[in-house]
Amino acid sequence: MKNRLRVLRAELDWSQAELADRLGVSRQTVNAIETGKYDPSLPLAFSLARTFKRRIEEIFDEADSASGEGSSAKAAP
């Protein structure tokens, strides 16, 4: 799943390690989410949204990514 994590993080001038500290996860996890190789769980996605003060939809794009790792059912309107 594509996401704007790297851009949002750069806007705040945070390192991956700093964001990982704020989220309570490892830097490796932040990197894997940024590169689209890992889709976070719902609680972690909400933590990201709270950290960046944005809605989840503003951070993650449900359009298909190349990896398709952990792809979940799309929310029906």
């Binding site: 750069a10 490892s26 490796q28 996890t29 590169t35 190789k37």
Partner: protein, 175 residues
């Protein structure tokens, strides 16, 4: 600053730092920070983390393994000196005590992992279990065909090797 009064002497106006964050692609156009004259900006404080906090589990497991090896050598030494003692079975099990400590520390560490690390460990454990089963079954068939019998204690090191290698491989996959 650009919003300074027009009658102000330009020489007295504060100098705007052009590149407050030269490493960032997002150049800041204004800064509320006061200009520091005659001194370098202080570096960010070092994270208040000690070696103990960062490597606590590794240190504890290392100490428990050290205790295990010491107990093992002591147990074997005592058993060789007293091969017919009635308490030999109890002494033979003494090294299990620090091994239980290793198990406790290991499980505690697993509970502290984040969700991606837990996924990596699940994949690594699954692979090591399957690969060990494959190897041991294959050798079991070879034993049936006449190969020498191997001790069961080889199974755990084999599984540990597969676990370590697969952890590295699966970790690399998420980089």
């Amino acid at each position: 600053m650009s919003d300074a009064p027009p009658d102000q002497d330009p020489a007295q106006a504060p100098v705007e730092p052009l590149y407050t964050h030269p490493a960032s692609p997002f150049t800041r156009t204004e800064s509320s920070l006061p200009l520091q004259v005659g001194g370098m900006p202080s570096p960010p404080p070092a994270p208040a983390q000690s070696t103990w906090i960062t490597y606590r589990t590794q240190i504890e497991i290392g100490l428990a393994l050290l205790a295990y090896m010491m107990f093992l050598v002591g147990s074997v030494t005592v058993l060789r000196a007293n091969p017919d003692a009635s308490w030999r079975y109890i002494v033979a099990l003494v090294p299990i005590a620090p091994a239980v400590m290793v198990l406790f520390l290991f499980v505690r560490r697993l509970g502290q992992l984040d969700e991606l690390q837990k996924r990596i460990q699940t994949e690594a454990f699954g692979f090591s279990l399957g690969a060990t089963a494959l190897i041991t079954f294959a050798y079991g068939f070879l034993e049936g065909a006449g190969m020498p019998h191997l001790n069961w204690t080889y199974i755990l090191p084999l599984m540990a090797i597969f676990w370590g290698v697969s952890t590295a491989v699966f970790t690399f996959r998420y980089r």
